[in-house]
Amino acid sequence: MYAPLERGPIGRVLSGIASLGKGLWITLAYMFRKPITVQYPEQRVVLPLRFRGRLVMPVDPEKGTNRCTACMRCVNICPNHSIDIEKQTGPDGAPLPKPAKYLYNLGTCMFCNLCVEVCPFFALVMSDEHELATTDRGGFVRDLAAEKYRLTGKKASWWQRKFRGSDSGE
């Protein structure tokens, strides 16, 4: 309500006092409610399926290796150039469609999910890892191919449904 102008001087004083009383009443009522705090390290909220944590390149359990073909599309789409790929080379020196090193710079990544979307082989997933603070910047560049990350839980089945068909979007 566009209140304060609507009343006369006495009405304003009275409504002012009433507003203070109402405020006190609200806070008093809250004293008897249950806290809504989530006791963080022990209790945790359930992360939604689409949560965007650190980028991982999970091992496909059927293939026993990651799904990357070093097609460079993620490198090209990354707005911050946080990804770089070194391809494996065959005996004749020609590059193979496999990453020798998949370098991911956590320090510049902004968790935008563009690399995951652009990947035609579903090789990348944004994991649930979000406690990423460290005291050492040196650990920011990681080789995801060497990491051999095992994706588990709901996210794993969501991810596997994407390339095994029957993708319902969830």
Binding site: Y2, K22, T27, R50, R52, P79, M110, N113
Partner: protein, 397 residues
């Protein structure tokens, strides 16, 4: 009191080609004040009331503000330059980061601009989803403003009540997009994901509960007698001055100017929705607060309508894989929580825009601060600055 200067002007290297004069960091005090009681107070870049890294140098006479010089640019990241070297889809996550409280509105404005350049029609469902998300985002942003403003005014309790409600919205947005603040949810032609299955159930629950919570917040802060006494008639800016300063959003509407991009430069499905545009009468700090509270109520109404008329369909139009709009230019504006968010995009027909100019509401709103504030008290400085709802990365870009 000593005349204080900040930085040493003599040591600064000459500016390039000498056309733009080197900055004088602090305007010299008027000569009359050198011997009087005035003194300079440096507020920021690290100060509890500046909500980020901005700095105002205030000439004070006791507790009264005589003059105020804002300094910005502490978080200037040169985004507009970065955009010239990014493809159209790469820019979307950056638009989140210009204003972390209204990432969705920024996504919306930018994506809509690119779609206009491409001549792309988006499905009806996408429009509804966009409006739903934008209004949720508006409520979340206003709630955060209310919370932070309560802190500015010395009331800590509304902060946590507002955050409880905001958390619900943010969780809904997170479930849909995967991000809480920097959502990066919009894509050219639609959305990256469809809405999650239980989205409407959650939304319904939220709508049923939030009205009462909002009334509580209203009573606790905005209607409170102390709050009213501190904000009523403080920091007045008239309609003409507000328009001349380019103010938009709640700050302008508080000054009795009924301008809302949603109605006056209609976009998306807003013309088919019914909502009121709350307008203040005096343009003072209380009006700016009241307008935001009312806007949240209107957003609830919009959410209800959008939920009822929500159509079936695709969540993404068939957009070309490589976005290469034809040469041209476009200005796409949406009503963000802080006012008109506009993207002026110039395309030269390549995959990267020739120029993207971001017109950000906080920039213009903040530029009016010296005018609003002159002659008020230092406590009013906090009240007025808070009521402008500044987001510093948006000012600096």
């Amino acid at each position: 009191m000593r005349n204080v200067t900040f930085g040493n002007r003599d040591k600064m290297p000459p500016t390039a080609r000498g056309t733009v004069p080197a900055a004088t960091v602090v305007q010299p005090l008027p000569s009359a004040s050198a011997t009087s009681d005035e003194f300079l107070l440096n507020i920021g870049p690290q100060h509890p009331a500046t909500h980020g890294v901005l700095r105002v140098v205030v000439t004070m006479d006791g507790e009264v503000v005589k003059d105020i010089v804002p300094h910005i640019g502490y978080v200037h990241r040169g985004l507009e330059k970065l955009f010239e070297n990014r493809t159209y889809e790469q820019i979307i996550p950056f638009t989140d980061r210009t204003d972390y409280l209204s990432a969705i509105a920024n996504n919306f404005a930018y994506v809509r601009g690119v779609e206009m350049l491409l001549g792309l029609e988006v499905p009806r469902k996408v429009e509804y989803m966009r409006v739903l998300m934008a209004e949720l985002n508006r409520i979340a942003s206003h709630l955060l403003w209310l919370a932070a403003y309560g802190l500015d005014m010395g009331a800590f309790t509304p902060f946590l009540y507002a955050f409880r409600d905001r958390e619900e919205i943010v969780a809904m947005i997170e479930e849909a997009s995967g991000g809480r603040l920097t959502t990066n949810y919009f894509r050219v032609g639609g959305f990256v994901h469809d809405l999650p299955k239980d989205f409407f159930a959650r939304l319904r629950k939220f709508l049923a509960r939030f009205g009462k919570a909002l009334n509580e917040l209203d009573t606790l802060l905005v209607e409170n007698a102390i709050f009213v006494a501190r904000t009523r008639g403080v920091g007045v800016i008239g309609k003409e001055r507000a328009v001349s300063y380019g103010m938009t959003g709640p700050c302008l509407r508080a000054s009795n100017a009924a301008f809302d991009v949603r109605r006056d430069m209609p976009y998306s499905i807003y013309p088919s929705l019914e909502f009121e545009i709350p307008v203040g009468r005096n343009g003072d700090t209380w009006d700016r607060s009241w307008v935001r509270i009312e806007e949240m109520r209107q957003s609830l109404a919009i959410l209800r309508q959008a939920m009822e008329g929500f159509p079936e369909g695709e969540h993404r139009a068939r957009a070309p894989r490589n976005i290469e709009p034809p040469a041209g230019e476009v200005y796409s504006a949406v009503e963000g929580p802080r006012g008109e968010i506009g993207f002026y995009i110039v395309s030269d027909g390549t995959r990267k825009p020739y120029r993207v100019k971001m017109r950000k509401p906080s920039f213009s709103n903040f530029s009016a601060l010296p005018e609003i504030l002159r002659g008020l008290k230092i406590a009013d400085l906090v009240a007025v600055m808070g009521s402008l709802d500044l987001v510093v990365p948006e000012i600096d870009r």
